[in-house]
């Protein structure tokens, strides 16, 4: 009798954690998509990707809290701002280094990480800030889901479908995919690689901006907020195979489940540790990524 009741509660919590994991996976998949896009096309890893998201979250905070703009007007503005930041990052930092060793490009974005973090510290201080929007909690049976998470999940899905359509249905998108297959030939085919790189960077930035709009609903923003989901995004991309969109998508949900279920049994931080341990084990099993073809 007592045991039965215990199991019921346990199952409900377990199911709730599983569903929350799926909801978290949506946003993580969005982040991984942006990073994978940049890597797949330009062959560069933006270490500062999570910091772009942080800047986007601050933009949302100030637009909504300080200037009193509605959330749904502020969101496109933020996406636009981070897209411009992404293009600027490419133009100012990556473009001069395109012929340099790949490690140099990666480290230069590490410098940008420092710049963005300290810029936020100087400009906004180290206080934790939040939008102050309290979205209702959705009760479904005995389970509670945050409305914000559901909204983020759906918006992330819409964002990913939009990118998919852009990549497959437009000329520019086709050119982007072609460049990721062969860098040299496309230039000979009359495609302006510089322009494509800029567009890709802006698109990667826009995805970071969208993620920022969604994350700011759930988390407080502070200058170091990028550190709490940056490492996990990198692990997702490596596990999925850098530049592999579908691998990144699946890996995002796998990781989100581990974090969510790990957090069920202890703190959220231990969920991250569990995810990292899982990652190490996976490297032994599938070293070239989740979806690598066996040779």
């Amino acid at each position: 009798m007592f045991m039965q009741g215990f199991l019921d509660i346990f199952d409900i919590y377990l199911l709730e954690a599983v569903i929350n994991g799926i909801l978290l996976g949506g946003v993580l998949a969005l982040l991984a998509l942006g990073l994978n896009l940049i890597f797949g096309v330009i062959d560069v890893t933006w270490i500062c990707y999570a910091e772009l998201v942080m800047i986007g979250m601050y933009a949302m905070y100030f637009l909504v809290q300080y200037y009193g703009i509605s959330y749904f007007v502020a969101a496109p503005l933020t996406i636009l701002l981070v897209a411009v930041l992404g293009a600027a990052l490419h133009y100012l930092v990556i473009a001069p280094l395109l012929t340099a060793p790949p490690i140099n490009q990666l480290l230069a974005t590490g410098g940008v990480l420092f710049v963005l973090q300290s810029f936020a510290t100087v400009a906004f201080g180290i206080d934790f800030r939040n939008l102050g929007i309290r979205l209702p909690v959705l009760a479904f049976g005995d389970m509670n889901f945050s409305y914000a998470r559901l909204l983020s999940f759906l918006a992330a899905l819409v964002g990913m479908v939009a990118v998919y359509l852009f990549m497959t249905r437009t000329f520019t998108g086709t050119a982007i995919r072609a460049i990721s297959q062969d860098r040299q030939i496309m230039a000979l085919m009359g495609v302006d690689t510089k322009r494509i790189y800029l567009i890709t960077s802006a698109l990667g930035g826009a995805l970071a901006g969208l993620a920022a709009c969604l994350l700011v609903l759930q988390y407080d923003v502070h200058p170091f907020v990028g550190l709490s989901f940056g490492p996990i995004t990198f692990l997702i991309c490596v596990l999925g195979g850098l530049g592999n969109f579908i691998g990144g998508f699946i890996a995002a949900f796998v990781f989100a489940e581990i974090i969510s279920l790990g957090g069920l049994f202890s703190d959220l931080e231990w969920g991250y540790v569990l995810a990292f341990a899982f990652f190490i084990v996976m490297m032994f099993i599938r070293p070239a990524g989740l979806l690598a073809r066996r040779r």
Partner: protein
């Protein structure tokens, strides 16, 4: 290899460094010197791997383990740092092997390796923050003051003792650097960084060679963390672990010059003096500004001076005898580094 004159120069330089605190006792300047020496050691430890193209951003994790394990063993178990430091180094070494082995065995190189190690230092930071009941979380942690024997607790109040300890540790780092530089492992690792498959075909055990240098580098970095903790008597996750510390190591090593033994030391001198100047210049408003300048300089350095300050200066000074091959290039740089470093030391 080392000529008589160069050996004499090193001896004179060292004698001057050892004698310095007995002649000049300004505590603030000594404090800065101690910090420079400890961080130089950490940066040198990083560059042991970094110079062979093994760019690790996980060293913040190793340093954090060195500092926290030593302090935790002292506070909770009363274990003297003389035992705690080796234990912490072993812990960091084991972690390095656990992460390094699959990376090297399965050819995870370049971007992948950087991202994996980056995640490692992020995770160590998360663990330190998560175990806040023991480590104090992001508020920081202080080793208990020793009631009895100061030597047993490795706690000293005077700066001169610490200066000499830091000098010894730093010298140890430089000696290990030269030891690796003259070993067969160096040639194996250079071959690996040029072309892994070719090196493997030529009979180099790629995984083993990479693991050895990674282990050595992680052990030294943990030692640096432990010494830093013992000196400062206060550590926070952000000052000894995490991505920022890892990037700081890479930055200093690159600014100074990756391929010369004193490069990381020059990098430490520049970065710490810069941070201190900014800190004093801006006062309490400097929070963040020093890192801002760090970041901008890092980007500029990578774009315009990828060989670092010392490396680039040496390139300019080098007489144009012949076009050296890759490895000879570095030997020339190294020899001249010693000559250049003399006036500074």
């Amino acid at each position: 290899m080392m000529g008589q004159g160069r050996l004499a120069a090193w001896a004179i330089g060292l004698a001057a460094l050892v004698a310095l605190p007995f002649v000049y006792r300004d505590p603030y300047h000594l404090h800065i010197l101690v910090l420079i020496l400890i961080w130089s050691f950490a940066y040198t430890s990083w560059s042991m791997m970094g110079r062979f193209g093994l760019v690790s951003l996980g060293h913040g994790g190793f340093m954090g383990i060195g500092a926290y394990v030593t302090a935790l063993l002292w506070n909770h178990l009363g274990l003297s740092p003389w035992i705690g430091i080796p234990i912490s180094m072993v812990a960091a070494g084991i972690l390095a092997l656990i992460v390094g082995y699959p990376c090297f065995r399965f050819r995870i190189t370049g971007h992948y390796f950087v991202l994996v190690t980056l995640a490692l230092s992020g995770i160590v930071l998360q663990v330190i923050t998560a175990t806040r009941d023991y480590t104090g979380g992001s508020l920081g942690y202080t080793p208990n003051r020793a009631a009895g024997n100061k030597l047993l607790a490795l706690q000293f109040d005077d700066k001169i003792t610490w200066y000499l300890i830091a000098l010894g540790v730093w010298l140890f780092g430089i000696v290990v650097w030269h030891w690796v530089d003259r070993s067969m492992a160096r040639y194996a690792l250079e071959a690996i960084s040029e072309d892994e498959d070719a090196a493997a075909a030529a009979g180099v055990d790629v995984t083993a060679e990479k693991l050895k240098i990674t282990l050595l580098s992680a052990l030294m970095t943990a030692l640096a963390g432990a010494i830093y903790c013992q000196y400062q008597m206060f550590i926070t996750p952000d000052t000894v672990s995490g991505i920022a510390v890892s990037l700081q190591m890479v930055f200093a090593a690159i600014v100074g010059g990756l391929f010369v033994s004193l490069g990381p030391t020059v990098g430490a001198i520049i970065t710490i003096l810069l941070a201190e100047t900014l800190r004093i210049g801006f006062g309490t408003k400097a929070v963040g500004w020093d890192n801002f300048v760090y970041g901008v300089l890092l980007v500029l350095f990578i774009i315009f001076l990828p060989k670092g300050i010392l490396g680039s200066v040496l390139d300019r000074l080098k007489p144009q005898r012949k076009v050296p091959r890759a490895h000879e290039h570095e030997v020339v740089q190294k020899q001249e580094a010693v000559q250049i470093a003399r006036p500074g030391t």
